[in-house]
Amino acid sequence: MEPRINDLQVESRVHELLDFPVHTNQISSAIYECPNDHIENPKKKPYNCPHSGAKCDVTGDIQRLLLHLRNDHNVEMSDGRSFSHRYVHHDPKHLHHATWMLTLLDCCGRKFCLYFEAFHLRKTPMYMAFMQFMGDEEEAMSFSYSLQVGGNGRKLTWQGVPRSIRDSHKTVRDSQDGLIITRKLALFFSTDNNTTDKELKLKVSGRVWREQPVSI
């Protein structure tokens, strides 16, 4: 049972009571702005909303951001242990930087953001998929993920380490730390299922797992 607080005024009063580092976030709905100058521990520093499409200024801890993503951005959650997503791009000849999607993945109780987007990399149209961990850098490194895309007898697989959402979506994209497919190849992959050049249908499958701690 989740109580809903819709009155923003009430919310902002409660906000003060629930502020870092002593808040409990179990009963809060999305709380906007969490300016806190008294944070000593960088791990407790609030995260920015990882929804990169619009300029969303919401910050908060992971639980709060999850609620915010679900309620305000309508982002869906999938099982991260094995997933398969289909991306359809109706007009792939016209690529805009704004063409992108976000899905949430759950693995071992942790949450991951899976991005898929179309963009131009030095004037070449590309698609890119990558994952970011909803948590700090240190814990992010204990996970691995793989993404696979293919068709027409070919397949391309990326295996990587999710970056923390402390790194902005743009930072990760620009460092090319993910699965990158040129549009040419993407269209070739999608000609598998009776599609025409006018429509792109890419199936991206993958999984997230926790790496076994190395024992020497």
Binding site: H120, L121, R122, K123, T124, M141, S144, G150, N152, G153, R154, K155, L156, T157, W158, Q159, G160, V161, S175, Q176, D177, L179, I180, T182, R183, K184, L185, L187, F188, T191
Partner: protein, 327 residues
């Protein structure tokens, strides 16, 4: 470009272009007398005796007096009956290259019909092709004939060598000093001390010998759009159909990441450039490549591992050859 021979009619146009442009019709007519007769003689030698009367003159008639290539419908003629192929027609500014009279728009249906009745052997008969074709389908066959020679797969220079596979393997080894490896797995290290300089010319070729076949592994740096990338892919030294019975994988990685490509080798019938431009292989963005290299990002050190295997193939799973040259 081997697969382009379907368009050999349009390549004749280029030849005219080189000879001089349109209005210099004298050049055209002189080409006719010399080139035309010589080429006709060659054709006759191949054909040998046929049932119908003087073959030589018929084949001679079917040669365009401008480009000396065989004419295909629509064949045109001027008011005086001088014939011309349709490609050359558009280039002569409505003036007959033979008599310099106005050309008009008359089709020479009679000659088209005569051609229909002719049968000729494939021009690769001396390479083993036993087939004989009606005049109009011969050209199409020759562009796809399995006996047509292969072009040298070496990509770096304009090598014009053609021949069969054993000949090309020896040619690659002896003339291009290409490394030859036996076996179906490989582990290559590509090191470049100054990866900031990416030129089209930076590339490598290695030949692998396994399953009784030869494969070309290409690795190269080039500009994809404005961005420098590295690309690795495999080509099969044989025809398209046999290429589809093999698969290969390539893997590159470092710092907890790895990128894997699994694909079907393309035949060397497809030019190196065509495969590259269709992005049919492992493409590594430079940032990623430097990340994989570790260290201070000043030097490129890529370890590419991979293997080739033979597919258990179901005959009806015909995969289309990608043709992505247009974007």
């Amino acid at each position: 470009m081997e697969t382009d021979s379907m368009e050999c009619v349009s390549s004749t146009g280029n030849e005219i272009h080189q000879n001089g442009n349109g209005h210099q019709s004298y050049q055209f007519s002189s080409t006719k007398t010399h080139g035309g007769a010589a080429a006709a003689a060659v054709v006759t030698n191949i054909v040998g005796p046929t049932a119908t009367a003087p073959a030589t003159s018929v084949y001679e008639l079917l040669e365009c007096p401008v480009c000396t290539y065989s004419m295909y419908p629509p064949i045109h003629q001027c008011h005086n009956g001088h014939t011309l192929c349709s490609t050359c027609k558009v280039r002569v500014h409505n003036r007959c290259p033979t008599c310099r009279q106005e050309l008009g728009d008359i089709r020479c249906l009679a000659l088209e019909k005569v051609a229909e009745s002719l049968e000729l052997p494939c021009k690769f008969y001396n390479l083993g092709c036993p087939e004989i074709f009606p005049y109009y389908s011969k050209l199409k066959h020759e562009s796809l004939c399995n006996f047509r020679p292969y072009s040298c797969p070496y990509a770096g220079s304009e090598c014009g060598i053609v021949g069969d596979i054993p000949f090309l393997v020896a040619h690659l080894r002896d003339d291009h000093k290409v490394d030859m490896h036996a076996g179906s797995t490989f582990n290559h290290r590509y090191v470049k001390s100054n990866p900031r300089e990416v030129e089209n010319a930076t590339w490598m070729l290695t030949v692998f010998h396994c399953f009784g076949q030869y494969f070309c592994l290409h690795f190269e740096a080039f500009q994809l759009g404005m961005g420098p990338v590295y690309m690795a892919f495999l080509r099969f030294m044989g025809d398209e159909e046999d290429a589809r019975s093999y698969s290969y994988s390539l893997e590159v990685g470092g710092s907890g990441r790895k990128l894997t490509w699994e694909g079907t080798p393309r035949s060397i019938r497809d030019s190196h450039r065509k495969v590259r431009d269709s992005n049919d292989g492992l493409i590594i963005q430079r940032n990623m490549a430097l990340f994989f290299s570790g260290g201070d990002r000043k030097e490129l050190k890529l370890r590419v591992t991979g293997k080739i295997w033979k597919e258990q193939h179901s005959p009806d799973s015909g995969l289309s050859i990608p043709n992505l040259s247009s974007s």
